[in-house]
């Protein structure tokens, strides 16, 4: 390998990269090193995976529950969604979102204006930016405090229920805490943030927060695709809870909502979580398709640009594989821990 001029050391790590990356979560410019480019790639992969997992879960649960709906048309629409999306390659969907939906949007001058100061154009989605002033930390503390108080109160309430059988209004108290405390802090700190709305100046927008079309296309494609698989898992999980459980709960006089929340969902989650984990892992791995639409994720930045410039194929590929393995391991460990809480306790 040395004969072919392929480096075998990690010297390249601190050399200047010299290429641009258009969206970075951590500071990066053309003078930064290859090592920094690597961290930019990792951060972008994590960002799109995390957003994708949240969005895919929400869509997937909605579609999965709709498939079981008593409403005929809702069930049919959800079924069609699953059957159509699942059977079309993800790459085709990504290219469609990127090249046929987001790229043909009008130029910034003719942007589509949505309510709330949001603009759509071929350079992405421009949102109003939030500017934090002194005192914003107070609101943050208030939010953390309200979460902590709610957890403490629900623990206390379940203790009371175990001892006396009385139910305390956990939901109402939680809601009150979650709206009241941050609102009070907001007023006390004197409106600690303001929105800056994007303005059209010359050929582009100034101010505001820009979401690049690459990111939007990747996020949309990944979550829409993965949601179709999650929907099937959710449907299977809920159907696997035997009908006798629901009927017994109704016979005991539990209303529909409580039957779902206390009887069906905990048992369904037990079946849902393991395959859901593997879908999350698939989503993370599929985020590497970013390379096809130019979103600077780990593969595009590191296994693409860095590999091409340094030629250090062995080291770069080894590091890339290691990063994906570590992300996969952490995700499955987290989901296993979550699963343990719901698993049947057997002797």
């Amino acid at each position: 390998m040395r004969q072919r001029g392929i480096p075998l050391t990690f010297d390249f790590w601190n050399q200047t990269a010299g290429f641009q990356i258009n969206q970075t979560l951590i500071p990066y410019d053309t003078l930064s090193s290859y090592g920094q480019a690597f961290w930019v790639g990792v951060a972008n992969t994590l960002l799109v995976s995390a957003c994708g997992i949240v969005l895919a879960t929400v869509i997937g649960f909605l579609i999965g529950i709709s498939r079981l709906s008593n409403n005929w048309i809702a069930a049919k629409v959800a079924t069609s969604y699953v059957e159509v999306i699942r059977n079309i390659p993800l790459l085709l969907q990504l290219l469609f979102w990127y090249n046929a939906v987001l790229k043909p949007l009008p130029a910034p001058k003719a942007s589509i204006a949505l309510p709330g100061g949001i603009y759509l154009n071929n350079r992405g989605i421009i949102l109003p930016a939030v500017e934090f002033h002194a005192g914003a930390g107070l609101v943050g503390i208030a939010i953390v405090a309200s979460v902590a108080f709610t957890i403490a109160f629900s623990a206390y309430a379940s203790g009371v229920q175990k001892r006396t059988g009385k139910q305390l209004p956990v939901l109402a108290v939680g809601l009150l805490l979650h709206t009241g405390l941050p609102l009070a802090a907001y007023v006390a700190a004197g409106s600690p943030w303001t929105f800056t709305y994007p303005e059209l100046r010359g050929f582009n927008f100034r101010g505001g927060q820009q979401i690049y079309p690459e990111f939007a296309a990747l996020l949309l494609g990944l979550s829409v695709y993965t949601a179709s698989f999650i929907a099937e898992i959710v449907r299977g999980g809920i159907q696997a809870v035997s009908k006798g459980q629901t009927e017994a709960a109704h016979a005991l006089g539990l209303p529909q909502g409580k039957t779902l929340r206390l009887v069906v969902v905990p048992q369904a989650l037990r079946i849902i979580i393991p395959p859901l984990t593997s879908q999350y892992l698939n989503l993370i791995k599929n985020s590497s398709l970013a390379v096809f639409i130019g979103y600077p994720d780990l593969v595009q930045v590191f296994a693409g640009s860095v590999l091409n410039q340094t030629g250090a194929a062995v080291q770069v590929m080894a590091i890339t594989l290691a990063v994906y393995l570590v992300i996969s391991l952490i995700t499955s460990a987290a989901m296993n821990a979550f699963n343990l809480r719901f698993a049947l306790v057997e002797r």
């Binding site: 390998m1 072919r4 392929i6 709906s69 008593n70 409403n71 005929w72 048309i73 809702a74 049919k76 629409v77 059957e83 159509v84 699942r86 059977n87 079309i88 390659p89 993800l90 790459l91 085709l92 290219l95 469609f96 090249n99 046929a100 043909p104 892992l281 791995k285 599929n286 590497s288 398709l289 390379v291 096809f292 593969v299 296994a303 590999l307 194929a313 062995v314 590929m317 890339t320 594989l321 994906y324 393995l325 996969s328 391991l329």
Partner: protein, 379 residues
């Protein structure tokens, strides 16, 4: 006190005519709608929203793909019509999408290979077909070699050699999938057996391989196959540029196949193993004649869904410069002669329909097998 009925009176001597079903067991459309569409206020809301959504989507699709579409005419006609698909563009590019740059006079070879492949696959999938073992032998043993010889060409028998750089389009997609299927299944079986083996080193190697490959994205495996394989193999032996991603594909899906096969192996009752061993049957004979036939049969749905994934994943070979079907659509889409507002959407819609038919067909087949197996278990 007991009374005895005359025996003859206890039996009917003629068939009782079938009674018609009760009048209200088949609901009228109105009662059906009340029950399934308007059972509650929330249900009414859902009905309105989803009906609106469905009507909008279907009408958009129909107007784009059929009503306003351009069926014949050149790029000028398509440019003038921004509301409908430009199917004449697909018509003009159809040969390219199917064969890539494969020489026109030799395309019968591709067709022949595909027809033979289709016949063999149909033979394998048809449950009651005679001599399925022969079909398996032909498909997994003879067909890959014969097909490759036919596609690439052998000078000795008068078939001119066609360089793999000219191959492209649908033929690459089908080729990649078939190669993946043909090689990943046996490899997966070997890995699954290795994972359940009693030899610690064999087991450790198999577990490591399966878990690592399943933990990394397919793209990185393709990168590895494309860039690393030439580094470790002497230049004279470096595989062809088309062969490298094929090896990557087969190695990648073998790991997934191994997990499916393992599930099948675990589902076989221990008595089957013990029974075979009690009869003095050796390990390989036992696996070949007793365990694997049962294990593979019950995991057919899983195997088919891995194939569906493999078929969809073949689109990723474009990253290492292979012109598969989707890549051909991309190349055709940006042809300046056809530039127009609807060309991209038309190309993607066409590709989506093609991929959808393949994948949906496979999933339907696996569902029918699943139903068949479920029936078998009940009776």
């Amino acid at each position: 006190m007991t009374t005895t009925l005359p025996v003859a009176a206890a039996f009917h001597h003629e068939y009782i005519p079938a009674t018609p079903p009760p009048a209200d067991i088949r609901p009228s459309p109105v009662t059906w709608a009340l029950k399934n569409l308007f059972s509650s206020p929330f249900s009414c809301l859902l009905t309105v929203c989803f009906t609106g959504l469905a009507v909008w989507l279907v009408s958009q699709f129909l107007s784009f793909a059929l009503i306003n579409a351009v069926w014949r005419g050149d790029s000028e006609v398509c440019r003038a019509n921004p509301d409908g698909a430009c199917w004449s563009f697909i018509g003009a590019k159809l040969n390219y999408l199917q064969y890539g740059a494969y020489p026109a006079t030799e395309r019968w070879r591709v067709d022949l290979t595909q027809v033979i492949g289709a016949i063999l696959i149909a033979w394998l999938l048809w449950r009651n077909a005679p001599r399925r073992n022969t079909a398996a032998l032909l498909f997994f043993g003879v067909y890959p070699i014969a097909g490759f010889a036919l596609l690439r060409g052998v000078e000795a028998i008068g078939l001119p050699v066609i360089d793999t750089t000219l191959w492209g389009g649908m033929m690459i997609t089908l080729l990649m999938s078939v190669v993946g299927i043909v090689f990943s299944l046996p490899l997966g079986v070997v890995l699954a057996l290795g994972r359940r083996s009693g030899l610690p080193i064999v087991r450790a190697v198999c577990v490591f391989y399966i878990e690592v490959v399943r933990g990394v994205p397919f793209i990185t495996v393709l990168f590895m196959a494309n860039f690393m394989m030439p580094l470790f193999v002497p230049e004279a032996l470096t595989p062809d540029r088309l062969l490298r991603p094929m090896i990557g594909t087969a190695l990648f899906s073998a790991a997934y196949m191994a997990e499916i096969v393992r599930a099948g192996l675990q589902a076989i009752p221990k008595g089957q193993y013990e029974g075979a061993q009690a009869l003095g049957v050796g390990y390989f004979t036992m696996m070949r004649l007793i365990i694997l036939p049962q294990a593979l049969t019950i995991v057919i749905p899983g195997i088919v869904s891995t194939f569906i994934g493999l078929f969809k994943d073949t689109t990723l070979v474009a990253i290492v410069g292979i012109a598969d079907f989707l890549r051909a659509v991309e190349a055709a889409r940006i042809d300046p002669n056809w530039a127009g507002p609807t060309i991209s959407s038309t190309g993607y819609l066409f590709a989506a329909i093609i991929y959808w038919f393949f994948c949906f067909g496979m999933s339907r087949y696996s569902q029918s097998v699943e139903r068949h197996l479920a029936r078998g278990h009940k009776s």
